[in-house]
């Protein structure tokens, strides 16, 4: 098997799983802007599967494609520290307000520009939306087969990839011709840690915008070491129909958003003392809740 060109679709997300007191507003709702931005967890599982394929087929490359604001370049660097060869940041104000369909349209257009790929690997879903839609929608837009809920790449031979899927009640092994799109489950192997050598090599990697905004003393580095330049694509770099982007390209609209407030309700307060627990169990048996 020849070396493979692998694209990992990744997203920078607010860490919705760790909402601390700092991220709470006085009224008990969440301050979304206060959440730290992280590499979407299942996209890291996806990256690991990509890196394993690369390990197996020397000469393969892993490129991270992410769509988001300028600071999303952080996760491209993070991926490079863990073994990815580079990345592309797809960023433009025109993408703002995109639902999953408009997002997958923009990503599929960027992939058309990339053109040369054998495998597209994404995390199953992102923790800010939990929709699991962008992977399959990108596959459809590119006319490629999709395999979701992947737990492991078993082997690649004769132009086919063999994948183990994790479903509700068991597992399934499938084969699929390349190129294809897969989405990787959180139950798959964790992503390897950062590699010290890679950190040294890539710590200065930057997008053009980041470079313009920094007081970089070593500008010549970016000529001498082209791998430090993270490509940044806007809508002028990809072929798109503007009407399909952002809010106008999104069939779904958010009508209302209700911030969740944890409401108080009268509850019986019980201590952990033996007598209290004894009374509780007695009461539950008496009122037929248990027993």
């Amino acid at each position: 098997m020849k070396a493979l060109k692998i694209i990992v679709l990744a997203k920078q997300v607010p860490d919705t799983r760790n909402v601390g007191k700092d991220a709470m507003k006085a009224d008990g709702t969440i301050n979304r802007a206060a959440l730290p931005a992280i590499f979407n967890p299942e996209d890291l599982n996806a990256l690991e599967q990509a890196l394993r394929v690369k390990d197996q087929f020397p000469g393969s490359t892993v490129t991270i494609l992410t769509m988001g604001p300028g600071r999303a370049a952080e996760i491209i660097r993070e991926g490079m520290f863990r073994g990815a060869d580079g990345g592309i940041l797809l960023t433009d104000r025109a993408f703002a307000g995109s639902d999953t369909l408009a997002t997958s349209y923009a990503i599929s257009r960027a992939l058309k520009k990339v053109k040369d790929y054998d495998l597209i690997i994404a995390g199953r879903q992102a923790i800010d939306g939990d929709t699991a839609q962008v992977g399959p929608q990108v596959a459809e837009k590119l006319g490629l087969p999709q395999i979701t809920y992947v737990e492991e790449v078993q082997k690649i031979e004769k132009g086919k990839i063999f994948l183990k899927r994790r479903l509700e009640r068991g597992v399934e092994v499938v084969s699929c011709p390349l190129p294809m799109v897969m989405t990787v489950n959180g139950s798959a192997a964790d992503c390897r840690a950062r590699n010290a050598k890679m950190i040294m090599k890539y710590k200065h990697a930057k997008t053009v915008t980041e470079l313009q905004n920094s007081n970089e003393d070593y500008l010549h580095l970016y000529n001498d070491r082209p791998y430090l330049n993270i490509p940044e694509w806007t809508i002028s770099d990809i072929e798109v129909d503007h009407a399909e982007l952002g809010l106008s390209g999104s069939p779904t609209k958010v009508k209302t958003v209700e911030n969740v407030v944890l409401q108080a309700k009268e509850a019986k307060i019980i201590s952990s003392a033996d007598t209290d627990i004894d009374d509780l169990m007695h009461e539950l048996i008496e009122n037929h809740t248990i027993g």
């Binding site: 979304r32 929709t131 509850a267 048996i285």
Partner: protein, 339 residues
């Protein structure tokens, strides 16, 4: 009026639980919109399956029966749905938020350029006035779901694109037979007109459909643990308590992420929804996506070291203290009081 479609999943020759729940919901919505409710079944050896479907008030059952269509595979099922929807132009399409529906739904919605909302917890018909266009939309499907880690509840609409698609998890909607004698009609699709050979590029090599060992939905008592259990060893205490009480063990996503319990035990928006007689939440802080899966429990006991834990706000009994200390006491005094 355009119809409502429910995609019926087949499990071991029968209509899946989640599809039965969606047909129940679909019937309610169809009554409100004064339209028909249709169902689509794709699989093999489907003879007689309509008998399981009509009682939910389904007017037309479309059957696509071919040996290549079972087990489920994305591409041929997508092709059939897309073509049928292009012909029938439903206004609403519902699918289970299962590994099948969540795989199929986005692909179908992309092909049809229609909006899809995943994992809805509520579906309601309502109007919408668009101020920008000064245009009123009547009878849209409000697709309501938690988002942003459950910290907000969003109402999503698809004003212009059809069908309005939504997936819903098993256990979220109630299942109810409308009329055991309800009569609809069966339309058998000529599968060859709907699929191409290219749709069968993916091959299923092996499949063990291990039956889910855990059946939390049927359990009258669920003892659930969260990250606050502290370790896998401590989590064992929950199994002890569940065993004496005759319950099942559940877990929050955080506990599963920490490796304390297996995935199938997850209670919450992205797991199972349970409505037991008694839910005992141990070391669970109670984020909304967890609460979405258990707040309809008849009684809730929250055990937590943090007296301010959000779970306490929906609990009937709040025990503040260390679970490792309290659970053995509960077992002890349960035994004492039943003797």
């Amino acid at each position: 009026m355009n119809n409502i479609f429910v995609y019926c999943e087949i499990e071991e020759g029968h209509v899946a639980e989640v599809s039965q729940e969606l047909m129940t919901k679909g019937r309610t919505l169809a009554n409100e919109l004064k339209c028909n409710l249709d169902a689509l079944v794709i699989g093999h050896k489907l003879d007689g399956v309509e008998k399981e479907i009509f009682p939910y008030g389904v007017d037309t059952v479309y059957l696509a029966d071919d040996k290549r269509l079972y087990p489920f595979s994305t591409l041929p099922h997508t092709s059939i749905i897309v073509k049928l929807f292009e012909e029938q132009k439903p206004q609403i399409a519902l699918m289970g938020a299962s590994s099948v529906g969540r795989d199929l739904g986005p692909r179908v919605s992309s092909a049809l350029h229609s909006g899809l909302t995943a994992d809805c917890t509520s579906l309601v018909i309502g109007d919408h006035f668009d101020k920008k266009q000064n245009k009123n939309y009547e009878n849209l499907l409000y697709q309501i779901r938690p988002a942003f880690g459950g910290n907000i509840i969003a109402t999503i609409i698809n004003p212009d694109c059809r069908p309005q698609m939504a997936t819903v998890r098993e256990g979220v909607m109630k299942k109810e037979i409308l009329d055991p004698k309800y009569k609809g009609k069966v339309v058998k699709l000529d599968v060859a007109n709907y699929v191409s050979d290219a749709d069968f590029a993916v091959e299923i090599i092996e499949r063990h459909m291990e039956k889910s060992k855990v059946n939390m939905k049927a359990a009258p008592i669920v003892v659930a643990g969260g990250y606050g259990m502290g370790s896998k060893e401590n989590f064992q205490l929950l199994f002890d308590l569940a065993e004496v009480l005759g319950g099942e063990v559940g877990a929050s996503r955080a506990a599963i992420d920490a490796g304390y319990a297996e995935h199938e035990r997850q209670v919450g928006q992205t797991g199972v929804t349970v409505r037991p007689k008694l839910y005992i939440a141990c070391g669970i802080s109670g984020q909304i996506q967890h609460r979405a899966g258990m707040e309809e429990s008849a009684q809730i006991i929250a055990i937590n070291t943090d007296p301010e834990a959000p779970i306490n706000s929906i609990a009937d009994y709040v025990i503040t203290g260390d679970v490792v200390d309290i659970i053995p006491k509960m077992i002890k005094y349960y035994k004492k009081n039943t003797k």
